[in-house]
């Protein structure tokens, strides 16, 4: 099988992020592989172990993103590519989707593209379906288990965790899938993997290499702000009987719209 896993490098989830001058600032916190993408890498590696073939990790970003790609190599991916181009500095999700689709096409004869559910910095969760749409492949999101892949028939059967429960979906390869945490615990890199990754030179592709036109972003997020801090004013709820109290409380809670 020829599997591609798309990863992103983001600030560590434990980082304290504040808005300074309209820009996000995470101080000294390290940049790491997007946690959801670790599950994607693990999923890809498990399928490769079962069906043979290789796993290629790709990431769109600056030079720092090579660290995330090296982590993917250390976990066991066969190769990795960085897509980096100054024209992508203010790319929106469609632009990234076209770029990733271009990279997947360049890798050629890919059966399966795996993404993590969303990136914990932008929290968009749209890159995978948009990339699938550019490729003309089906997207199956929120996969919590891969039941079976039949490489002969070119079929995949998965379980998805959605609002209605665990849905079983069959698809014809090639497909794009996004994975959630239930799928498998990501493995630690092996020491041999660490050595290989440390030595690896990661090739960089530009837009020209992918034959993708310079995108014009249409979505902009010029500034971020800190959420309004609220001084807590405690409201005690009382009533005639427990049900009345409960009803009032529920109304108040829903009214605040935090959940």
């Amino acid at each position: 099988m020829n599997i591609v896993v798309c990863i992103k490098q983001v600030p560590d989830s434990a980082a304290k992020v504040v808005a300074e001058g309209g820009k996000a600032n995470w101080g000294e916190a390290p940049l790491v592989m997007n946690p959801w993408d670790e599950y994607a890498v693990e999923t890809a590696l498990l399928q490769q172990e079962q069906h043979g073939g290789q796993v290629t990790a790709i990431s769109v970003g600056g030079p720092a993103a090579t660290e995330a790609l090296k982590s993917a190599l250390a976990m066991g991916c066969s190769q990795a590519y960085l897509v980096s181009d100054p024209a992508l500095s203010s790319a929106d999700s469609q632009a990234i989707a076209h770029v990733l689709a271009g990279a997947i096409r360049k890798i050629a004869e890919v059966d399966l593209a795996v993404f993590g559910k969303q990136a914990i910095d932008s929290d968009m969760g749209v890159t995978a379906p948009q990339t699938a749409r550019v490729l003309g492949w089906p997207v199956i999101s929120l996969v919590s288990a891969v039941r079976e892949i039949d490489t002969g028939k070119g079929n995949i059967v998965v379980e998805r965790s959605v609002e209605d429960g665990r849905q079983i979906v069959e698809g014809r390869l090639p497909v794009v899938i996004t994975v959630s945490k239930d799928i498998a615990e990501p493995r630690y890199p092996s020491f041999m993997g660490i050595r290989k990754a440390a030595k690896a030179e990661i090739p960089v592709w530009t837009l020209a290499d992918l034959e993708v036109a310079t995108p014009t972003p249409v979505v902009h997020w010029p500034e971020v702000e800190n959420p309004p801090s609220q001084a807590i004013s405690t409201e005690m709820i009382s009533g005639e009987d427990p049900q009345e109290i409960a009803d009032t409380l529920v109304d108040r809670i829903l009214n605040e719209k935090v959940f």
Partner: protein, 404 residues
């Protein structure tokens, strides 16, 4: 001079940290309270390759360098000292002793299963009546035909009841002028008739670990199990300690860091007199002291690791690193408890465990006092180390990583 950890070292650090934090940290307290080693630790560390981290691939190891060993120990002890004790005895004292002194045949027979984690190793030097006075040990090994017959008792042996192999030092010659020259080293398999082991309970610290005694009653081991020549035992033991001590130094550094992190966290949360206690100078003084100790301890052990990588004799530097880090970890833990106030006195928080664990390292692998004598000995010119018949091999990536 490049003081940064290489990319490889950083990835090793992250991997070991993730393992220790995710798999051991959540359950360590309950095992410490029960004074029992968690069953999964040895197999898991073996499976992940940590037990053989710096052993060449051709001997079943992972082919990483000696700095990786140190970095791994720092991360392990930041969660609990017992994890690092495993590395100290299995890897530092036993496996690296075989790497340095074993014949090719012995390395294939004994080192390979140890490096793979298929067998567990321990180090049999200390006896009920002999700790610092190594030459005063009384265990004997008498040559009878093609075998040695070993008698004696070893005590305060980490992993005594868990290990498969013991690197046992015994007296082979009681008539020699200098008793130091009458000792020899042997690889003794625990399943040989005559070997019994037991656990020691009621220790102040490292309670989630396994410490015990090993008794040998007329245990026969073949000639091929003797490591080095007859009479090499003392020098072999001392060079094993150079490696064991290194892991202790690195580990104690991790313990200082754990004390520092716990104290910083608590000082930012606990409030008294209208503000976080971190705002008070006497608390800040304690934290500053821990920072100083951590940074200095770290540089000392990394230097020792670097020297091992270069194939340079490092007895002095390793001793210095161990003495400094362990003494400072005991202080840091005591101060960390103080920062936590009454809560530091309760095992709900980790700092009391850090203190109890830290005290052991001030005693074993060369007590504080012994190290002070070693340092003075070097400084005053009373000692110098003659080159050994076998030195710890210099780290060579292609030798370490080739399949041989």
């Amino acid at each position: 001079m490049d003081f940064t950890l290489s990319e490889e070292h950083r990835m090793v650090q992250k991997m070991v940290r993730d393992f220790a934090q995710k798999e051991v940290a959540p359950v360590i307290k309950e095992h410490d309270r029960a004074q029992e080693m968690a069953q999964f630790i040895l197999p898991r560390m073996g499976e992940l390759g940590i037990l053989g981290i710096c052993i060449p691939v051709r001997y079943g190891g992972q082919g990483m360098d000696y700095i990786s060993l140190g970095v791994a120990c720092e991360e392990l002890e930041a969660v609990d000292s017992t994890l690092r004790v495993v590395m100290s005895v299995h890897t530092g004292l036993n496996s690296m002793g075989l790497l340095q002194w074993g014949t090719e045949e012995q390395k294939q027979r004994f080192l390979a299963p140890l490096a793979r984690g298929n067998k567990i190793g321990c180090f049999g030097l200390t006896e009920p009546g002999a700790g610092s006075d190594v030459a005063g040990l009384t265990s004997t090994a008498r040559l009878e035909g093609e075998d040695y017959v070993i008698n004696g008792e070893k005590m305060w042996i980490s992993l005594a009841t868990k290990a498969d192999y013991c690197l046992w030092v015994a007296r082979t010659d009681s008539k020699v002028d200098d008793p130091h020259d009458g000792l020899s080293a042997f690889l003794v398999e625990h399943d040989r008739p005559g070997i019994t082991t037991g656990d020691i309970k009621g220790k102040l610290g490292v309670r989630a670990g396994s410490t015990g005694w090993i008794a040998a009653q007329d245990v026969r081991v073949p000639l091929g199990n003797r490591i080095g020549q007859e009479g090499d035992g003392f020098r072999i033991a001392m060079s094993c300690l150079d490696n064991g001590r290194y892991t202790v130094a690195a580990g104690a550094t991790g313990l200082i860091r754990a004390c520092l992190e716990a104290s910083v966290k608590y000082a930012n949360e606990r409030r008294a007199f209208g503000r976080e206690i971190g705002k008070f100078q006497l608390i800040q003084q304690k934290i500053a002291g821990m920072v100083q100790s951590y940074e200095a301890a770290r540089l000392l052990y990394l230097q020792a690791g670097w020297m091992k990588n270069q194939g340079l004799r490092n007895t002095r530097e390793t001793s210095l690193a161990k003495w400094f880090a362990t003494e400072k970890s005991f202080e840091a833990a005591s101060e960390a408890i103080q920062v936590h106030g009454a809560y530091g006195f309760s095992d709900e928080y980790d700092v009391e465990r850090y203190l109890r664990n830290s005290k052991g390292a001030v005693i074993y692998e060369g007590s504080n006092e012994i190290h002070q004598l070693i340092q003075a000995g070097f400084a005053l010119g009373y000692r110098d180390d003659a080159p050994l018949k076998s030195e710890l091999p210099q780290y060579d990536p292609s030798y370490w990583q080739d399949n041989g």
